[in-house]
């Protein structure tokens, strides 16, 4: 965890009066599948575009592979593969010609044999000479992945790579990302507005909202918090509140709405709470628990 691949510090970017990114900071380490999580319009794409020098930041620094992006753009981009939002190709050209075009200026041109092998790897074997205009969204996404990987980059940046894909396509892309990490030791930055997607494939993440980075850390630590938000539906909320306070002093009652209780409690105490309430004559008709971060993230989106 010592090799920093990406280090973004205090990045800010405005478009006119609109501040798209405000003091965003985060670090990605070698071998990470780093989740870049945030609702739509949070500033994820603007940050990523800054990292690829598509957009010039107003303030802040971006270091990739230990080098300043501003001073070593060419070297950094030669070692980076990316898909921003959606892969756009020349519709009037074949998949093969499209890859040849991007390969020629990638810093490490590929042979035709390598391009055929890559198309086979992403499941587009046999469609090499078909025009991209006739491709489905899923096929274009696969071609985008092929374009990203063709020059064997050390860092892969994927901005919402599963958007618009069918369930099988989503699974394929997720498996591919995991494969890149485990078999090829690539570092992946994955942007998404989908918490479960980040949870499944990322080991570290940052949450960004309204242009600001909110929280950064290990996915397992952030998501598998011991604290849960529990919603109880009981026949007597006042009794339930008193029993909870008496037997579980660390639990915090957040609110009550009629016979519904919202409280924060340790994961290990949830089953005991249910048992204690029943033993003390309170009937529990439903019990729901949510992880704090999930709830927090949903609040961010709803707001």
């Amino acid at each position: 965890m010592s090799d920093k691949i990406i280090e973004v510090k205090n990045l800010s970017k405005s478009f006119g009066d609109f501040e798209a990114v405000k003091d965003v900071s985060f670090t990605v380490y070698k071998g990470d599948v780093f989740g870049f999580l945030g609702p739509n319009g949070a500033g994820k794409s603007t940050t990523i575009r800054c990292m690829l020098s598509l957009i010039k930041a107003d303030r802040g620094t971006i270091n990739i592979f230990g080098q300043s992006l501003h001073e070593h753009r060419h070297d950094i981009l030669a070692r980076t593969g990316s898909i921003i939002e959606k892969p756009d190709f020349y519709k009037y050209l074949s998949a093969l010609t499209n890859l040849e075009i991007f390969s020629r200026i990638s810093g490490k041109p590929s042979t035709k044999k390598e391009i055929y092998a890559m198309l086979d790897f992403v499941g587009l074997s046999g469609r090499e000479k078909d025009k991209v205009g006739g491709f489905s969204h899923g096929m274009k996404q696969r071609l985008g992945i092929a374009q990203t990987l063709l020059h064997n980059p050390d860092l892969i940046i994927l901005d919402e790579p599963t958007t618009g894909l069918d369930p099988q396509g989503i699974i394929d892309i997720r498996n591919l990302i995991l494969q890149l990490r485990s078999e090829k030791n690539k570092t992946v930055l994955l942007s998404s507005h989908n918490l479960s997607e980040i949870e499944i494939i990322s080991n570290r993440m940052v949450i960004i909202n309204k242009g600001r980075s909110i929280v950064e850390g290990s996915v397992s630590e952030l998501l598998n918090s011991e604290e849960l938000i529990v919603t109880l539906e009981v026949d007597n909320a006042i009794s339930a509140q008193n029993i909870t306070t008496k037997h579980f002093p660390k639990a915090q009652i957040a609110s009550t709405e009629g016979q519904v209780l919202h409280l924060t409690i340790s994961k290990t105490d949830v089953a005991n709470l249910n048992k204690t309430l029943i033993e003390n004559g309170v009937s529990v008709s439903s019990i729901e628990s949510k992880r704090k971060l999930e709830d927090y993230f949903i609040k961010i989106i709803n707001n």
Partner: protein, 280 residues
């Protein structure tokens, strides 16, 4: 990287159907003119020569390939800019509209190199258009109508050029015409940097040409100081090669004005493109 990127641009231009529209339109237009002159060319010529018939006697093949090529050039050179801009105006903005510019700029190529490769591709395309116009006008014209002395009616009067004195003039004329069209091509690419749709730069290029042409032809004193510096004023400088003696001073002046425009358009485009945020 520049050469590889330029090769990419050639591949893209060659694969786009609209790139062949210019060649097709030239073929059709020249074909129509050649057909019309073949059928009824003499009445067209007599309309011009009638005013000289009391003082001059015309003998031989007046309606020859050299004259046909001159007529074709005069008729079409004003319309060719649209055909050029149709392709070159799309080189940046078309890629911005489809999102491929974003894909290109995530590769380790500098924006200046990418833009210069597009300028180069635009210049080669313009050259192709001019060469095709030359083939259709001069070569096909001579094949259909034969060779002969060239009669050119200038503002100073009638100029008669010997047939063996004409070919180099066409070469010079086409070279200056290429430079003029290159200016149009570079203007449309420059405008293309500021747009994210294909139509805008094409329409704006034509609007500028029309506006400048109107300023250039309006006999109003207020425009006298501006007129010599408009590139549209020099778009018809190819005609100077068909004067005797050659007005070299005027030709060089035109070349310099057009070159200055070309450098200005390239510089503006490079500056703006390097400053531009790619948000498409």
């Amino acid at each position: 990287m520049f050469l590889k990127s330029t090769y990419n641009e050639f591949v893209k231009i060659a694969a786009k159907p609209r790139s062949y529209l210019g060649l097709l339109v030239i073929t059709i237009l020249v074909g129509v003119i050649l057909f019309a002159l073949k059928v009824d060319g003499m009445s067209f010529i007599s309309f011009v020569t009638s005013s000289f018939e009391q003082t001059l006697t015309f003998e031989g093949n007046i309606l020859n390939g050299n004259l046909i090529a001159f007529i074709v050039l005069q008729m079409l050179i004003i319309h060719i800019p649209l055909l050029v801009a149709l392709v070159t105006g799309d080189l940046i903005s078309g890629e911005a509209a489809t999102g491929t510019i974003r894909m290109l700029l995530t590769k380790p190529i500098s924006r200046t190199n990418l833009l210069l490769s597009k300028f180069m591709a635009g210049a080669v395309y313009t050259m192709c258009i001019i060469i095709w116009l030359g083939i259709m006008a001069v070569v096909v014209g001579k094949l259909l109508f034969g060779s002969g002395d060239l009669l050119v009616l200038n503002s100073d009067g009638l100029v008669i050029l010997q047939q063996d004195d004409v070919n180099w003039r066409y070469l010079g004329g086409f070279a200056v015409a290429f430079l003029a069209l290159l200016t149009v091509s570079l203007l449309s690419i420059c405008l293309s940097v500021f747009s994210e749709n294909s139509i805008g730069p094409i329409v704006t290029t034509m609007a500028i040409i029309i506006l400048f042409t109107i300023i250039g032809t309006l006999d109003v004193k207020i425009f006298d100081n501006v007129r010599p510096f408009l590139f549209t004023t020099h778009m018809i400088s190819w005609r100077s090669f068909f004067e005797d003696p050659l007005p070299m001073k005027e030709i060089w002046k035109s070349i310099i004005v057009l070159l200055v425009h070309n450098v200005a358009f390239i510089s503006i485009a490079i500056y703006a493109f390097n400053k531009k945020d790619i948000t498409s």
